[in-house]
Symmetry: C2
């Protein structure tokens, strides 16, 4: 575990590192969009995906026609990050201005999930609990067009910033209001409609 | 522009591609966190950063002690993505379930900004307008510990999903409620306090 642990060791602001797996699960369960980083022809990309979690595995899906998904299905190294922004921290100095956030990062290689339906259900239930049981299940043709990938929670880091603004002796004489502007993601009432 | 245009051509769901630069600016201006993808030792990473926009340049900053920032300052290829999640689209079928989103992706290499103060002000004003003028400006020592990077909006894509659920002949006989759960990011009232 030498190299893996090293790769996800938090070097910047190490006091914000969280090691509890339950906290990692909590952040993944609270998010709705992950950014997956991969490399194609020496160019890195970060692409948003919907996802779900099954125990110690992150599941996400895409089209068999997608370059991203074909590369990842082939076992290319990737990074899946979920960042929840919880607030803006307003300090006395410009330098100490920062954010409240919870940021999870998972490194590894994906495997292709054969039991697509169970995995797709997990992703669906993560986003809209109860929905899977009332919609038309995927057809054979739809499943053939879908790649479902699994990334294990083996090599990961979690960074949580949930504090208050710091002040320093240099700030003496500066007294703007200091504190936090909390940020929330709100799901509004369902709006019925169809294309 | 052959290769660059090809690299950011939207292949999946090309009808969602938006080419207007004003729309790109709008998404960047509405976001607060970007994910920057880069490669270190064959491993891709996607790391969240605060950012701002100055005309056709995205600005972001970090510590001179950060591996990410040193790599990017050295001109490593990167990808900066900003994704705004606007809603969950509930269709009759599992397959057509999707999201409303606005997703911007910028490819390129960063340059190091010498005029740090103006750039830091731009980032600060993007997040908390008016704040810069009331806080203690960065000291020489603080600036020496800060790298400010600029990524030009030369090679980019924007994908916007803002529609309603699609239905297909296969869905006949399935009639769950269909529509959209809108999602918003809300900034709550300022809470005063200090560490």
């Amino acid at each position: 575990m030498g190299a893996p642990v090293e790769r996800t060791r938090i070097r910047r602001l190490p006091d914000k590192a969280v090691r509890e797996r339950e906290a990692l699960h909590g952040v993944l369960d609270a998010g709705m969009v992950a950014h997956v980083a991969f490399v194609d022809d020496d160019q890195p990309y970060a692409i948003p995906v919907a996802y779900g979690r099954d125990g110690d595995t992150v599941l996400f899906h895409g089209s068999t026609g997608s370059r991203l998904f074909r590369l990842l299905a082939g076992g290319a190294p990737c990074c899946l990050s979920v960042t929840l922004l919880d607030g803006l921290i307003l300090a006395r100095s410009a330098f100490e201005a920062s954010m409240r956030y919870r940021s999870a990062m998972v490194l590894g290689r994906c495997t292709v999930i054969e039991d697509q339906v169970a995995a797709l259900r997990t992703i669906s239930e993560h986003l809209v609990p109860g929905r899977w049981d009332v919609v038309r299940p995927p057809s054979r043709k739809e499943l053939a067009a879908t790649l479902v990938l699994a990334l294990p929670l083996d090599e990961w880091s979690l960074k949580v910033s949930d504090g208050w603004p710091e002040t320093s002796p240099e700030d003496e004489g500066w007294s703007p209001p200091t504190g936090v502007i909390p940020i929330r993601t709100v799901l509004d009432d369902f709006v019925e409609g169809e294309a």
